[in-house]
Symmetry: C2
Subunit: 439 residues, 2 copies
């Protein structure tokens, strides 16, 4: 009898969706309240979502551990990150990105080179000299190059500033950055693990795949998708527009992953090639546009991504000897290194306003999950059977990722407020001023 | 060197979201095209989604197996089932359900009792006599009682007929059915495994939990949610309405699971207690209503559920000796048994139209995933270390589930067409008739 009840319990009391549903309910409620509090305190909602995760993670409750380690919640969060970048891509166009193309290239190149050099110097200064110091320094430099654009675009979105030219430069630079960071990581791994000589073939293939993906997705996307969406209007299905749009988003996400890029680069590219013209025939028959249709999906899934990012923050790692000092030095190198990007921003935006170069620099700061991926690669590196990166260096990298990620929303919010407070340069001097007394 | 590349590949070429994104792209595209074809052939779109899964499953390709066994896709499909029932619940109200409450109770009771009796008779007729025949007959009878309402509501939705009173009776009966089927399953398992006497305490606790959940969710939902939604209007968050609505949906889904009911019962209850009044303050400030916000979520996730349901159909099990005959007899018992429901439907709908009693009977036919859950419980039952249900009987149950699930959409579509073709009883005799010649 007793033996039989478990199988009944499995059937009638434990659909696997049960715990996931509870997790989603808790994440949604926590994200909503934390986002509201952050907004009330003048911050971006995403900072609240991150911090509520960090705080809850310290509670050491069983369900918190379950939530943090849930494969389903993890996957929902990753899909949320894809859809966030898809949504952001939808709000821009290929033309607008090409306008900032040269700036984005230069910003990305500087944003990779300077942090890499600073990280290398910091490591040589702070680490005890040893046979592997050179290798660790190369690796730490490489981890500082990543840019995780998710946080930055959420802040711009929260503050209704995604249409600013600075947002477009940052997004363009983040794509290039991803490609450059990938190449650098491949080269560093090759140098560390095979000091006799670079395997040019392997590295070349990685570069070729990444470039192939970018060219393919943009050229084919711009050329083929208008025909595809026009053809699909003939399908008798109430949600054709969303289904076709999401299929493209997921297909390019997978293709980016295949090419060795972050899947979010593919999702962004899919959003970028889709313009208003794709939605037009559907809108004409009274349906919602693609942006409006994607918004409920991101409302559900994006908070899952950020709350879980907070939950996974391991504050305990900082207790490791030497980790705090090295970590703070890496934070400084990470922040200062990306501010070099500000030095190579020039010109004015389409509204005639001077581009806020510091806004671009600040927007490049967060390392987010890309930094953590780099760190996990480093943790797996071995020379002669010895791990190259010890627990202290790994904890320092985690600290750098966390601080840059949590620091960015308030910095961006402050800078955006400053930059929007000033009068726009094209304001007419004689414009009427609202001088009714407040009541 | 070679040892190192896998860790790099893990980091830069295999984000776990990659394959899931590809699966989603394929499922969305397949569901869209298959749904379109089914609609063109005069069928419901969901039949296309089911059949494309069945057909693709026979292809025996590696990625099909991966898609079928993917835990992530499975979870997304389960969330899709929740959201489908939530959406359906949103389109109805507690008041409307109470109007059909007595009918639904009677329909559910008949729809449990008659199929159970028929299944018991069929088993005794077709199975070779043996020490366990009585136990197998009890179990087969129990599997015939389940009603999986997902298919039926999709057909009604596809044909824009969810507001018909027959849909409300079926939905109400399905909720009661779930409770009754659960109790029956518990009793059958208790009888089979402990013939000395029923453990009344265990069964009583199961019943109490189920009733507790229903009363709690409806009473508290009707009383507390208007206050909650009104309070939430003060939150500064762009997607408050959707976040609060989904949190309630997921919370009640989990609570239903806790109470031993199917999670979709909780999702349906959540939708039921939410009425237009909850969305009104948000609509008043120009936001979309909850139904419109949930639609994109179901557009993404519901096809995943139905395509995977098709993928998991194991046609090969029918090769088992004796399975086909027993299976076809069970199909007949399942279909005929639920038609007994038609005999206890009476009266007219709010539009004065006679309720289509056969529509109710046909809508109760599909066993879907609930039947499969019952079958898996049976597969785990043992007496004296011997499994009670052999592979042949299990395959017969699977056949019954598949046939009732695939048969229902065309039957419902046919019946709805017939029932809508006749003139409504309240049509004015002198109403103008459109007699322009077609051109």
């Amino acid at each position: 009898m007793v033996l039989l009840w478990p199988s009944l319990a499995l059937a009638v009391g434990a659909d696997p969706v049960g715990p996931v549903a509870l997790d989603l309910a808790l994440v949604l409620a926590a994200a909503l309240l934390a986002g509201h509090c952050a907004t009330r305190l003048g911050q971006s909602a995403v900072l609240g979502e991150l911090l509520v995760g960090v705080v809850v993670a310290q509670l050491d409750l069983p369900w918190v551990a379950r939530l943090r380690d849930s494969a389903s919640i993890d996957m929902l969060g990753r899909l949320g990150a894809l859809l966030l970048l898809f949504e952001v891509g939808l709000q821009s166009t290929v033309g607008a990105m090409l306008q900032v193309g040269r700036q984005a290239l230069v910003v990305a190149a500087v944003g990779v080179a300077v942090p890499f050099a600073l990280g290398w110097v910091v490591a040589h200064q702070l680490l005890p000299a040893g046979p592997n110091t050179g290798a660790v320094a190369l690796f730490l430099g490489a981890t500082l190059t990543a840019t995780s654009v998710g946080i930055t675009v959420r802040v711009f979105q929260d503050l209704a500033s995604l249409q600013r030219i600075e947002a477009k430069i940052i997004l363009g630079a983040a794509v290039v950055d991803d490609v450059l960071g990938l190449i650098l990581l491949a080269v560093v791994v090759a140098v560390i693990s095979s000091p006799d000589g670079l395997q040019l073939g392997s590295v070349g293939w990685i570069v070729a795949k990444a470039l192939l993906f970018l060219v393919f997705s943009l050229v084919v996307g711009v050329w083929a998708t208008p025909k595809l969406f026009q053809w699909a209007t003939r399908l008798r299905h109430p949600s054709t527009l969303l289904a076709v749009g999401l299929a493209l988003c997921f297909l390019l996400s997978w293709a980016a992953d295949w090419a060795g890029l972050a899947p979010i680069v593919g999702a962004f590219a899919a959003g970028l090639v889709l313009e208003d013209v794709h939605s037009a025939p559907y809108r004409a028959r009274g349906e919602l546009g693609l942006e409006q249709l994607v918004r409920p999906l991101t409302s559900l899934l994006v908070p899952v991504f950020f709350v879980q990012l907070g939950l996974r923050t391991d504050l305990a790692a900082l207790g490791h000897p030497g980790a705090l000092g090295l970590g703070l030095a890496l934070v400084a190198a990470a922040v200062i290194g990306k501010q070099a990007c500000a030095g190579v921003v020039w010109g004015t935006g389409p509204d005639g306003r001077q581009i806020d170069r510091w806004l671009v620099g600040l927007g490049m700061i967060p390392r987010g999950e890309v930094g953590l991926i780099f760190a996990s690669v480093g943790a797996g590196l071995q020379v002669n059977g010895q791990p190259i990166v010890d627990a202290g260096a790994y904890a320092a990298v985690v600290l750098m990722v966390v601080v840059t990620t949590v620091l960015t929303p308030p910095l961006l919010k402050w800078r955006l407020g400053r930059s929007q407070a000033g009068p726009p340069p094209d304001a007419e001097p004689g414009a009427p001023i609202d001088c009714r007394s407040p009541d």
